[in-house]
Amino acid sequence: MPRTPFEINVVRDRESATVTLAGELDIATVPRVEEAIEATLTDELQVLTVDLSGLGFVDSSGLRLFIVLDQRAAEQGWELRLLRPDAQVLTVFQVSGVEENLPFIEDASVT
C-alpha cells in the first residue's frame, strides 16, 4: 500500500536541536518521532524546536506527543518550541484547544 513517506530530519548542536517533520503524523508514525526526539534529549539540551510546517496530517496520537513533550520540558527544565504547521493541520491544534496551551512560535530564527 503506497503511503506518503514520512520524513524526520534532525539537526543538532550541543545545546539545541531542531527536528523537522514531513508527511502524516498518526498512530503509525508517532513512535518513530518519539524515538528520534528521545535521542536528542541529552543533559546538555537547552532548546528543542520541532518544525511542523511540513506536516500534511495530524491525528490525536500526534497531539498527545506534543502535550507529553511540553510536560517533560517543564519537568526537566528545557525549552520546547513548536513551529506552526500549515493552516489545515493547524486547525486540528486549534479546535482541540491544544494550540493555545502549547509553545508555538512564529519562526525558527526567533531565539
Binding site: 498512530i27 490525536s60 510536560q71
Partner: protein, 572 residues
C-alpha cells in the same frame, strides 16, 4: 423583659424554619452541649427527641459512632468544626465518616459550622449544617476504585497475581477482608488471594482454612454461589449463624475472633460458567453491606473474571484489552423515547492496536445523555482510562447533567491520574421532544442531517485530560422530526484508502447528505458499506459512530404508505 420576649419569638421562628429543612442542623452551646437538632439531625444522630439531646453528654452521644476523616484517621469531639469554633478557631468544613457501632450503618457527612454571636460579638452558639454526602462519597470512591482495578488488570499477565492485587485494593477501602477463590472441576476450591488490613488476622484466616471441608457445601456460602451462580448478601451475621457453622469449639472460637459482622459473596462468571467467587467481609470497621455494595462487588468480580478468562484462554495482553473493551461498550442500544438510535463500533484491525473508542447512553431526569469519545493510547491501559471516563461521566451527571459540566468533571478526573491520560469526548443531552444540548472536548463535531443538507453543528472545546486553559461551550439545538444527529470518532474520517488517501469530512458529509428521513440502522449500513468500499488494508485506529434520529417524521408516514402500496402519488 421585652428583649427576652423578642428573642423567644425569634427562636420560635427560627425553629419553624429549621424544622422544615431537609438538611440536618444542630446548635451547640459554649459548654459543648447540643441544645438543638432539627428533625433531620435527630434522625441522623439516632436521638429520639430534643429533650433527650439536651440532656445527653455530648461525648457519649458521639461515642455511639466510630468517626474518622476521609483518610481513616480517628476523629474526637474536639475535631468537630462546631467545637473548634467555640474554642475560638476558624474551622474548615469537615468530611466525616461515621459508622454506627450498633447497627454498622455507614454515613459520610460534610460538616460546616457558623458562629452565632451576641451584640457584644461573643459566641453564643455554633450552628452546624450537616450535609449527607454518603451516596456521593461512595460513588466517587467506587469510580476511583474501578479505575485502579483497571490499572491492576493491566499490570500483570499472571492472573493469580492480578487477583491478589484486586483483593489487596479492596482492603480496607471496601471491606476488612477480601478473598478470591477459584472453583475446581471436582467441586472444591482453590484459594487464590486473601487480604486483610491487619496482618495478625491473616494468621487466623490461615488457621481457619484447616477447617474448610474439601468439598463445598452446595447450600451455603461459596458452595451456594458455585451451584447457583447468584451473589449472596449476608447483611448481618448473628452469632447463632457462626455457632451453626462451627464444627467444634476451636472452630467457633476462630470464627468469633475474625469478628464477621457482614459479608457478601459474588461469583466470578464467564460466559459459560462460574469460575470462582470474590468474598468480602466486614468485621472491625463495623460496616454493614447493602445492595449497593453487592452490586459494586459484582462489577469488580466481572472485571476480575474477564482477566482470568482471557489469561487462561489466550495468555495475551491484546486479548485482555479487546475483551475488556468489549465489556466497556453498552450491551445494546437502549430504547430512547422519541428517538431511533443505532451505533457502530469497529476495533482497529491489528493485534495490540486496540484503542480506546467508546460510546455510552444513560438516563437523567427523563432525558438521555450520550457520550462518545476516544481515549488516546493503546491496549489495557487505554481500556482502564476508558472505564474511568465512562464512570466519571455517569457519576458527574448525577450532580450536574449539563454536558459542559460532565466534560469538565471528566477532565478533572483525568488530570488526577499519575500519567498523562488524554481523551476526546462529545457529550449530548437529548429530550424526547427533540431538544438537545451539546458540548465537545477536542472531538470532531457531530453532523446534523436536515431535509436538504448534512452539516456540522456545535462548537469546539478543549481536549480532556492535560491542558491548563480550558473551555467547553454548549450549543442548544432543536431537532425536527426526521432530523438526525451523527456523532463519530476520528477513526471514521481518518480511514485510509488507496494511495494513503483519507476518507475525510467531505466524503462523510456526502454520504449523509441524502439520508434525511432514513432510519438510524439504514444510515449505519450505508456508512459501513462506504467505509468498506474505501478502506485499504488494516486500519490503525478504531471507529465508532452513533446515529440518533428524532422519530415521528412526516416522511416516515409517506414511506409507510408507499410500502402499503397507496402512497406513490405523494412522493412529490
Amino acid at each position: 423583659m421585652r428583649g427576652e420576649t423578642e428573642r423567644a419569638i425569634r427562636d420560635q421562628r427560627l425553629s419553624v424554619i429549621l424544622d422544615a429543612l431537609a438538611e440536618a442542623v444542630t446548635i451547640r452551646a459554649p459548654n459543648n452541649h447540643l441544645v438543638y437538632a432539627n428533625p433531620a439531625a435527630l434522625e441522623r444522630l439516632g436521638v429520639a427527641s430534643s429533650k433527650e439531646l439536651r440532656e445527653a453528654d455530648p461525648r457519649e452521644l458521639m461515642s455511639s459512632w466510630e468517626t474518622t476523616d476521609e483518610h481513616g484517621h480517628e476523629l474526637a469531639m474536639d475535631d468537630l468544626p462546631s467545637v473548634q469554633l467555640l474554642r475560638g478557631e476558624q474551622p474548615e468544613p469537615l468530611l466525616l465518616r461515621a459508622v454506627n457501632r450498633e447497627s454498622g450503618e455507614e454515613q459520610w457527612s460534610l460538616l460546616k459550622a457558623t458562629a452565632v454571636r451576641d451584640e457584644a460579638g461573643a459566641i453564643e452558639a455554633a450552628v452546624t449544617i450537616i450535609e449527607d454526602v454518603t451516596q456521593r462519597r461512595r460513588a466517587t470512591l467506587r469510580i476511583e476504585f474501578l479505575a485502579r482495578v483497571g490499572d491492576v488488570l493491566a499490570s500483570s499477565m499472571d492472573y493469580e497475581q492480578t487477583l491478589r492485587n484486586v483483593a489487596g485494593l479492596a482492603v480496607p477501602l471496601l471491606a476488612d477482608w477480601c478473598a478470591v477463590d477459584l472453583f475446581t472441576e471436582e467441586g472444591g476450591r482453590e484459594p487464590v488471594a486473601i487480604a486483610h488490613a491487619d496482618e495478625d488476622k491473616l494468621r487466623t484466616a490461615a488457621r481457619l482454612r484447616a477447617y474448610e471441608p474439601d468439598r463445598l457445601d452446595p447450600d451455603r456460602g461459596l458452595g451456594l454461589v458455585q451451584r447457583t451462580g447468584e451473589a449472596q448478601l449476608y447483611t448481618e451475621i448473628p452469632d447463632e449463624l457462626l455457632a451453626a457453622a462451627a464444627v467444634d469449639e476451636e472452630h467457633l472460637r476462630l470464627l468469633r475472633e475474625v469478628g464477621m459482622r457482614s459479608a457478601l459473596v459474588v461469583p466470578l462468571r464467564t460466559r459459560e460458567r462460574t469460575i470462582g467467587a470474590l468474598t468480602m467481609v466486614s468485621s472491625d470497621s463495623g460496616r454493614r453491606f447493602d445492595r449497593g455494595d453487592l452490586e459494586f462487588a459484582e462489577q469488580i468480580a466481572a472485571r476480575a473474571a474477564l482477566a482470568v478468562e482471557s489469561a487462561r484462554l489466550y495468555s495475551e495482553r491484546s486479548e485482555i484489552a479487546r475483551t475488556l473493551q468489549s465489556s466497556l461498550m453498552p450491551d445494546a442500544i437502549p430504547q430512547i423515547a422519541g428517538w431511533d438510535v443505532a451505533a457502530l463500533y469497529r476495533p482497529a484491525g491489528e493485534e495490540n492496536r486496540v484503542g480506546g473508542d467508546f460510546y455510552d447512553f444513560w438516563e437523567v431526569d427523563g432525558d438521555w445523555l450520550m457520550m462518545i469519545g476516544d481515549v488516546t493510547g493503546k491496549g489495557v491501559a487505554a481500556a482502564a482510562v476508558t472505564s474511568l471516563v465512562r464512570y466519571t461521566a455517569r457519576a458527574a451527571s448525577e450532580y450536574d447533567a449539563r454536558p459542559a459540566q460532565v466534560l469538565a468533571r471528566v477532565d478533572a478526573a483525568l488530570r488526577r491520574r499519575p500519567s498523562i491520560s488524554l481523551c476526546t469526548a462529545l457529550c449530548l443531552r437529548i429530550s424526547p421532544g427533540g431538544a438537545a444540548t451539546l458540548a465537545v472536548g477536542g472531538h470532531p463535531l457531530p453532523i446534523r442531517i436536515g431535509e436538504n443538507e448534512a452539516a456540522e453543528v456545535g462548537e469546539h472545546g478543549t481536549l480532556l485530560g492535560a491542558l491548563a486553559r480550558t473551555r467547553w461551550p454548549e450549543t442548544k439545538l432543536e431537532l425536527r422530526p426526521g432530523e438526525t444527529l451523527v456523532a463519530f470518532t476520528d477513526g471514521v474520517t481518518d480511514t485510509v484508502g488507496t494511495g494513503g488517501e483519507r476518507w475525510g469530512a467531505t466524503r462523510l458529509n456526502a454520504a449523509l447528505a441524502q439520508a434525511h428521513g432514513q432510519t438510524a440502522a439504514s444510515i449505519r449500513e450505508r456508512l459501513v458499506a462506504e467505509l468498506e468500499a474505501f478502506e485499504v488494508g488494516a486500519q490503525a485506529d478504531d471507529t465508532a459512530v452513533v446515529i440518533m434520529r428524532l422519530a415521528g417524521a412526516p416522511r416516515d408516514d409517506r414511506e409507510a404508505l408507499r410500502y402499503a402500496g397507496v402512497g406513490a402519488a405523494q412522493s412529490g
